[in-house]
């Protein structure tokens, strides 16, 4: 699972959970890939993400220093080098082993062999 996926996921489907976002993330193992950078595609992706969740994801792999703590006002004003940092976090980081955790109920969704398992019944709506 690329770090990008974390940005799209929530635990809203659980009982008594209203927001369920961003999911807490623990990363026990990840690989860094070298996927070709494309300025346009990166901006399209950044337009779709929630910044606070991206910060959570960057912190989970101890790479918060790659990106600013505040959301940049306009993506297309960033230099290629700045965008490369975002590209690296979203596309190059593949989480192999870890956990996604519901921020409200603390329900744990394990990630194994790169595949998160969101099937949990304990507290479903």
């Amino acid at each position: 699972m690329k770090l990008f996926v974390h940005n799209f996921m929530s635990s809203r489907f659980l009982k008594n959970v209203t927001v369920g976002y961003p999911l807490e993330l623990t990363v026990k193992q990840f690989v860094e890939k070298d996927i070709e950078f494309d300025r346009e595609n990166t901006i399209v992706m950044l337009d779709k993400i929630q910044y606070e969740a991206l910060l959570v994801a960057a912190a989970a792999i101890n790479q918060s220093d790659r990106i600013p703590a505040e959301k940049p006002s306009k993506w297309d004003e960033l230099s290629d080098d700045q965008l490369r940092q975002f590209h690296h976090l979203l596309m190059n980081i593949d989480v192999i082993d870890g956990e996604l955790v519901c921020p409200e109920t603390k329900t744990v969704f394990p990630i194994k062999d790169g595949i998160p398992n969101m099937l949990k019944v304990d507290a479903e709506k």
Partner: protein, 441 residues
């Protein structure tokens, strides 16, 4: 504007128009109404033709059309009258080859003889011949109305502009694919589906019933970033029984990831999750997709299930916890899918999915026995959603009694709170029982 002869493949006729229109719409190419497997259309630029050919699996090839006539006498007369027709290809520094192609009749046609006869009358004085690497590949195309006709109804002459993408069905053939399941989509149809969903490079695409990834592989081939959810733990992790004949257990090298690696598109795979796609809340409110492609399980070769609450869980170790699943009513499965699409698609985004139907002619034959009236297929009975517009509906026949339809909807606006998908009794929910219990007397 210049005329181009577009020659179509003879397979999947019902998908031809829809695929052609979707690709033209994707690249903003103006289209006329196409009529037949041969079709002359005016294009504004060569780039437009190239774009069309870069995506279509049902277009065989396209010619820059010089002449369209009914008899060879007409052909030769026109060539004599307008020397430029040949003249523009008869240059010292441009090699050429003559080729022949016939449609509507294959037997007893001698292409070499046709080419010889043509070159006996039409003289090339400057251009050198090169059969292997010609600069200009010139085509004589004959079209026959009936295979028994002696004379063609139409003859075309023009220069080859390029071929469509029919090679993709060979490249993605299931025999050589690393990981397949019981219901992995035919590769040609999976590419047609990607075209109908108007998937473009850089899009984010979801398959909520991803299986072994057969529908998102074409999306990745076309440059999109892809994601999938799968409810079956063993399918998602490529464990358990193999779907291949003679192979018992899936081996360790099989996985969805490995499929992407095989076609060198692994950089496009965002992730696969084990999740219940009927739970829309697994997606956050900012999760927006450009397209959804799906082949929901019809409950025949793959079970249709969703998770249920308050039932006991079988547990085996820490990670594997099988959740109780129940049969997923097919009508609500399709409603859920359309509701999901209405919420998580961008505006103008498309969802394209397969929808099994019981054929009307069979229902009439055995109506009294099995199917309550109103349960058979008719176009008014398809799933409907006020925010989603049906843009195409193509049929692939499966058996004498059944077929499946590839339905493609486009999101026209954001849904208002209470708006939900509506579906009338279509027989979809009877699909399985119908298939297994009915007998024709």
């Amino acid at each position: 504007m210049f005329p181009v002869l577009v020659v179509f493949s003879q397979s999947h006729l019902d998908f031809r128009k829809a695929e052609f229109e979707a690709i033209c719409s994707l690249f903003c190419i103006k289209v006329d109404n196409l009529e037949d497997h041969l079709f002359v259309m005016n294009f504004e630029s060569h780039q437009d033709v190239e774009k069309l050919l870069s995506r279509s699996v049902l277009v065989k090839f396209a010619l820059d059309l010089s002449l369209e006539v009914s008899t060879y006498n007409d052909l030769y007369e026109k060539i004599e009258k307008f020397p430029n027709i040949i003249g523009k290809y008869d240059k010292l520094n441009e090699s050429f080859a003559m080729r022949f192609f016939a449609i509507g009749k294959k037997k007893k046609l001698d292409g070499m003889e046709r080419i010889k006869a043509f070159l006996d009358i039409v003289q090339f004085n400057h251009a050198p011949i090169s059969l292997s690497t010609p600069k200009n590949e010139l085509y004589l195309v004959e079209s026959y109305l009936n295979p028994t006709d002696e004379q063609p109804s139409k003859i075309f002459f023009g220069r080859m502009l390029g071929e469509g993408r029919s090679e993709l069905k060979t490249k993605y053939n299931l025999r050589d694919r690393c990981y397949i399941g019981n219901t992995t989509m035919d590769p040609e149809l999976s590419f047609i589906q990607a075209n109908l969903a108007m998937i473009r490079s850089g899009d984010i695409v979801l398959d909520p019933f991803v299986g072994t990834g057969g529908l998102i592989l074409p999306a990745a081939e076309f440059g999109a970033f892809v994601m999938g959810t799968e409810i079956n733990y063993q399918t998602a992790r490529a464990q358990g029984k193999s779907s291949r004949q003679g192979v018992k257990i899936r081996n360790e090298s099989e996985s969805i990831q490995a499929n992407f690696e095989q076609y060198k598109t692994e950089q496009k795979l965002l992730g696969i999750m084990i999740a219940d796609s009927s739970k829309h809340g697994i997606w956050s409110s900012n999760a927006m997709f450009d397209a959804i492609v799906a082949d929901p399980p019809y409950g025949v070769r793959e079970k249709a299930t969703k998770t249920v609450k308050n039932k006991e869980i079988e547990s085996a170790g820490d990670y594997i916890r099988y959740q109780q699943k129940e049969e997923y009513n097919l009508e609500s499965a399709f409603c859920d899918l359309l509701n999901l699409a209405a919420h998580i698609l961008v505006k103008k985004g498309r969802v394209s999915f397969w929808y099994p139907v019981i054929l009307e002619r069979f229902v009439i034959m055995s109506a009294s026995v099995l199917i309550p009236t109103g349960c058979r297929y008719c176009s008014e009975n398809l799933p409907q959603h006020p925010a989603m517009e049906l843009v195409s509906n193509c049929e692939q026949s499966l058996t004498r009694k059944t077929s499946r339809r590839l339905l493609t909807y486009q999101k026209v606006r954001q849904p208002i709170n209470s708006e939900e998908c509506e579906i009338q009794k279509t027989g979809v929910s009877h699909y399985r029982s119908f298939l297994f219990t009915s007998k024709i007397n």
